[in-house]
């Protein structure tokens, strides 16, 4: 099986929430630097599959930390990815969108060359798998899991 990342993104866009998750937020950056994760993921999905650099990578890296270390992804974060209480988990569709963005970062610009990006791709694939474990009811879970394993096969081929 080979995943069509563009198609996967289109299908995930269709299931994203239509309203911002954070009250009063219309963009991914709300008042005082707060982050609306739903809007952020929606923006990334709309831009299509990409490998991030710069601040987009920093934002995705911060979400990796939420998944891997805090084992939760909330709807809203304060400036500097600070926790905002009470924490509300993102809807499953947003989590699925985030997984697709992670997998695009893990795979879309990688060839069958193995690991050539310092490990960013593998880190993203790792977080994607962990996010799928956290959000078991996310839409397209079997497809996303298969995509992650396919990327892992390609990324680790050179060290096996």
């Amino acid at each position: 099986m080979t995943v069509d990342a563009e198609q996967a993104f289109r299908e995930l866009i269709a299931v994203q929430p239509t309203k911002p998750l954070a009250a009063g937020s219309a963009t991914e950056m709300g008042p005082e630097g707060t982050v609306d994760v739903g809007v952020l993921v929606g923006t990334w999905l709309a831009a299509g599959p990409n490998v991030f650099v710069g601040s987009a990578r920093a934002d995705l890296d911060a979400l990796c930390r939420q998944i891997d270390v805090r084992r939760k992804v909330s709807t809203t974060y304060g400036a500097g990815w600070k926790r905002v209480d009470p924490e509300t988990a993102v809807p499953a569709a947003v989590a699925a969108g985030l997984v697709a963005v992670l997998l695009a970062n893990a795979g879309s610009l990688q060839g069958s060359t193995g690991v050539r990006d310092g490990g960013w791709g593998l880190k993203c694939a790792n977080s994607a798998l962990k996010a799928l474990d956290l959000f078991e009811d996310a839409p397209f879970t079997p497809e996303l899991r298969a995509w992650a394993v396919e990327i892992l096969d390609a990324e680790t081929a050179s060290v096996r």
Binding site: N50, G54, A154
Partner: protein, 583 residues
């Protein structure tokens, strides 16, 4: 003790081992002894099985009982896995020792020292046992204050609280099994194996941050493979535990003793080098599926050979005969490979190759050129272990050379009016990739210097220049940091999507990057800049712009629609060098 020197036969170093019971603390002590060294003092943290309340009264017999029980309990619990694996899987431990032997002297004897009748008193002049359930425990803090000033070897994990760093005169050394600054975080030995193909080890001075202290020594080892004995492969949990019982502790101890402590004239006066904190990736604990891949790479089972995907090197080597003699089969092979590959960009690269190869029948004079260029791609795939921007073919196109790349150089030059911009001027191109863009503007420019860190791409640029008879382009293998040292100035500097890179080879921050661009220009010189596509730049490109505007007065800022999907929507900027950069 088994086969080790008596305490007084070793030289005491003015060091304290902050011992968190377990294989790591023991490995440090055992390896020091092998080197004829010992620490003066061990502060052994003992978890208090009775809750800690009894130890509040010094000299209380109940407190002493609590401490004794704690020592016994944590000896069992913290060393449970190494003892269990040695008992149940001695063949696995022997296999690990064989695999480690090229890196660490006598691993089996170190294991014996660490786990057979081990006593802390045999390794130091003074052993202080302190009931403490965490590094923030007031009882531990009191002991640390009492030993300060002191240099401590940290042997545990987790985050050290600020209260420890606040103690005057305390320096903590730590060893991490990742090559700093590239690999930080957790499970780093396994991440190193997956991402760098070998373990890395770094000794550093601890700070309140995560693995960000000044570095004392680093060691990226030869590739490490443990050949498992025949028979049933141990489960991943056992293999994972064996990594942290037998491999990780010995690698850390080897670096610390061999490269830091043994050669030091005075271990209290070690030289440490600041890290590049913008470089590297912080990894977190592995998902079991990812961990399984790392363990497969580390522990090779004789009866389980996983099928390999064809590597880039294999594929490109397979193409070599097509460039010795024109082959009617080659375009068909390329087409088949493009369909077969699972990666869209790789497929595009192969289709570009197919197209260019087919056009050689109309331009037979280019055949030799394409052979030379292909040889560079083969060499690159073998030797250059970072991201391949061209996806096994070329990233930049060159109409003049008959090369179709992922980026359309002719359209790029035309869209930006580059030839008119640089006419008669000296130009520096940063990160020139295969140099085909430099070759495209060379007819207009007075002179072009193009540097690129990848030597195979630099060689490709020179091959192109020779083929085209271009003599006013100088190609150099260099990073921007190294180039800086040439102290040469230019009329224009081309920064085309090089302010961040995917490959991890750029370690400077944006501020430093644009300061360098400013520094290599003559007064009145210009920055000619192209961004990444907007989705890759992220949501705060405005910050990048603000930095650019501190160093340059922006005359043009445009977005062009041209070329391939990788060309479109990028921001193009021309800025004049400010005489005095703003703040």
């Amino acid at each position: 003790m088994t086969g080790t020197a008596p305490l007084d036969a070793t030289r005491a170093l003015p060091l304290t081992l902050l011992a968190w019971e377990g294989p790591q603390a023991r490995a440090y002590l055992a390896r020091l002894r092998r080197a004829g060294l010992r620490v003066e003092r061990i502060v052994l943290m003992v978890r208090d099985p009775l809750g800690g309340t009894l130890q509040k009264v010094p000299g209380d017999p109940a407190a002493a009982l609590s401490l004794r029980l704690g020592v016994r309990a944590q000896n069992r619990s913290h060393n449970f896995h190494p003892h269990r694996i040695r008992r149940r899987n001695p063949e696995l431990v022997a296999a690990i020792a064989r695999g480690l032997a090229p890196l660490v002297a006598e691993p089996s004897r170190l294991y014996a020292d660490m786990f057979d009748r081990f006593r802390y008193e045999a390794f130091a002049d003074d052993v202080i046992r302190v009931g403490a359930n965490s590094y923030a425990d007031p009882r531990l803090l009191a002991v640390l204050r009492s030993v300060a000033p002191a240099t401590l070897i940290f042997s545990g994990g987790g985050i050290i609280p600020q209260a420890v760093f606040d103690i005057d005169g305390l320096t903590l050394m730590h060893v991490h099994t990742g090559l700093l600054p590239f690999v930080r975080g957790a499970d780093v030995l396994l991440w190193s194996i997956l991402t760098r193909g070998r373990p890395g080890v770094s000794a550093f001075v601890m700070t309140p941050g995560l693995d960000d202290g000044d570095v004392l020594a680093t060691w990226e080892t030869d590739p490490l493979t443990i050949e498992l004995p025949t028979g049933e492969r141990p489960d991943d949990e056992t293999l994972y535990r064996s990594v942290f019982s037998f491999i990780d502790p010995l690698l850390r101890a080897e670096l610390l003793v061999r490269d830091v402590l043994a050669p030091a004239a005075d271990v209290r006066e070690l030289t440490a080098t600041p890290q590049d904190l913008d470089a590297g990736i912080t990894f977190h604990f592995m998902h079991p599926t990812v961990r399984g891949r790392a363990l497969q790479a580390l522990f090779v089972s004789p009866r389980a050979h996983a099928p390999r995907m064809e590597s880039t090197t294999t594929m490109l080597t397979r193409y070599l005969p097509y460039y010795s003699k024109a082959s009617p089969v080659a375009p068909l092979r390329f087409a088949a490979d493009a369909i077969r590959t699972k990666q869209p960009l790789r497929a595009l690269g192969i289709r570009n190759r197919q197209r260019d190869y087919s056009s050689l029948s109309d331009h037979p004079e280019r055949f030799e050129l394409h052979r030379l260029l292909h040889e560079q791609l083969v060499a690159q795939s073998r030797e250059w272990d970072t991201y391949d921007y061209g996806e096994a073919y070329w990233y930049q196109s060159s109409t003049e050379l008959g090369i179709t790349g992922l980026r359309d150089t002719t359209a790029r030059v035309d869209a930006f009016g580059l030839r008119d911009l640089v006419r008669g001027r000296s130009v520096l191109e940063i990160g020139s990739n295969s140099g085909f863009l430099s070759l495209a503007i060379a007819p207009a420019a007075q002179r072009v210097v193009a540097f690129e860190i990848n030597p195979y791409l630099v060689a490709a640029g020179q091959i192109g220049a020779d083929a085209l008879g271009v003599t006013n382009v100088e190609f150099l293998v260099s990073s921007f940091e190294e180039f800086d040292e040439r102290d040469e100035r230019f009329d224009d500097v081309l920064s085309f999507a090089n302010h961040h890179t995917y490959d991890g080879n750029t370690h400077q921050g944006l501020e430093e990057y644009f300061a360098r661009c400013h520094a290599v220009l003559h007064p009145g010189g210009r920055l000619i800049f192209e961004s990444h596509p907007p989705a890759l730049e992220g949501r705060d490109f405005a910050k990048t712009m603000a930095i650019i505007e501190r160093f340059f007065t922006v005359d043009r800022s445009e977005i062009h629609q041209y070329g391939t999907f990788l060309d479109r929507d990028r921001r193009f900027i021309v800025g004049r060098r400010r005489e005095a950069p703003g703040s």
